[in-house]
Subunit: 306 residues, 2 copies
Amino acid sequence: MTRGNAALTSWRDGDAKQAILEFVQRASAEVPVEERVAVFDNDGTLWCEKPMPIQLDFILRRLAEMAEVDPTLRTRQPWKAAYEKDYGWLASVLAEHYAGDERNVQVLAAGILAAYDGISVEDFEAQSDRFLREATHPTLGRKYLRCAYAPMVELLEHLADHGFTNYIASGGGRDFMRPVSQEVYGIPRERVIGSTVALEYRSDERGGTVIHKAEADYLDDGPEKPVRIWSRAGRRPLLAAGNSNGDIAMLNFAQHPDKPFLRLLVKHDDNEREFEYVSGSEQALKEAEHQGWTVVSIREDWSTVF
Amino acid sequence: MTRGNAALTSWRDGDAKQAILEFVQRASAEVPVEERVAVFDNDGTLWCEKPMPIQLDFILRRLAEMAEVDPTLRTRQPWKAAYEKDYGWLASVLAEHYAGDERNVQVLAAGILAAYDGISVEDFEAQSDRFLREATHPTLGRKYLRCAYAPMVELLEHLADHGFTNYIASGGGRDFMRPVSQEVYGIPRERVIGSTVALEYRSDERGGTVIHKAEADYLDDGPEKPVRIWSRAGRRPLLAAGNSNGDIAMLNFAQHPDKPFLRLLVKHDDNEREFEYVSGSEQALKEAEHQGWTVVSIREDWSTVF
């Protein structure tokens, strides 16, 4: 744990660091400890989401495995793209999505939901745990487990040191992140909020098993994020940090008439050390300007990224 | 907090108390602290559920208020029963439910869902908080806030003293219990699992509002309980305590091949100090016998009830 002057050493002096330090100082002095709740998006906010979200790599490997076993899948999307490592198809799906065409998104989603149909929650976590520890980022050349942003991990520690309860409020899969959230972020599994497939309890002689079904339960993104934060934490957060349009509602939700609050938007503007992109964050960057959110420039504000 | 020999003073010496003390001792010695998870049903397990669940009283008062304002509701169920205090109709709905006829249950449910349509989560909690502090149990002559079972509160404290993380896993409304869970049970709001209506986020200039919709999200009962426990805690509990058929799956779920575990079933057999009933618990009592769950007899095992 970093403490006192040692806190936020990967942050350069500037408006963002200053805003964080002032907010934490005020909140610690003015807000009862049980109300000090902070929520963080994960992909692109706490760890790297390019060239593709880490979980998508995990799922594509599983789809490729399925096509390895069953050749009939090799001509069907998304198994075909996964099997052929055709990232062009995946990029086109994303481009179509941003253009408002959801047809191939649905094809991809159906494959994602089928990938772990019937698996127990324990077995699923064992697989994601192994993947996150063993797999390497395709361009950064570091293990996925080392793709968390050092300044954000320091921020989580700084908040925890000041009595904050940190939650991950991710659009990504809740049970995908849980096996490593404590180790990577110091956030225990019960404080990981994220998307999930529908789960079902099947009784058996070993106490029953909770299994994944091939249908979505909910997508923890956009206006669903405040709903899920309320459902889990039962509180309106004092601090919310995100990086994309899907985080706008969550950042708005961190507002109080009578308490200090802080909204952070991570801006990916460092092609040298990480990635440079605004796609998917256009609205959020506009909102940041209109609403006075604190923009965190990776290039300017972070002396170290990883 | 009760500690050491002072623990469980409202429990009489006997098999149930012995089983609890031995389990807690073993779990504390053998299981890492983060895995010490205990889950408790609320109505009939932690507090009194007769002559009707406390939340039903809360809702009936709201329905009567609505009929007070709008006379056309006075001829429609369930507003009619609420307005006329016709508990006979409610009892018949329950009897029909146990006989497998769900038609009037749906009539009642529709009224319950309509009762708080559009209210913000903060306003809803303010109302349930006020109700729980001000209203009095209809036959016990004590405030609802004083209707928690003293031996179970001692058990919660004993577990917390030994590093356990306690959750409420109730079929009742999550947001109904949250305002008082810390005060009554020492369980913070983020560890209250329970049923909920669907929620919706509506943006506004004050950070947006999460509101109740007039539709169910899920009912945290039966096989849904293990699913919700996993979703929230991310762990299979070591201890589960319940009292009714709706708790069977949850009690089954608290089973481990390699760790100590305990299942408690509260038996309502004390008509003098509380209530005597088996309706709704028939299957659970049978399972307790078959599976070796620990039955807690209110009459035999508790020296004090409230």
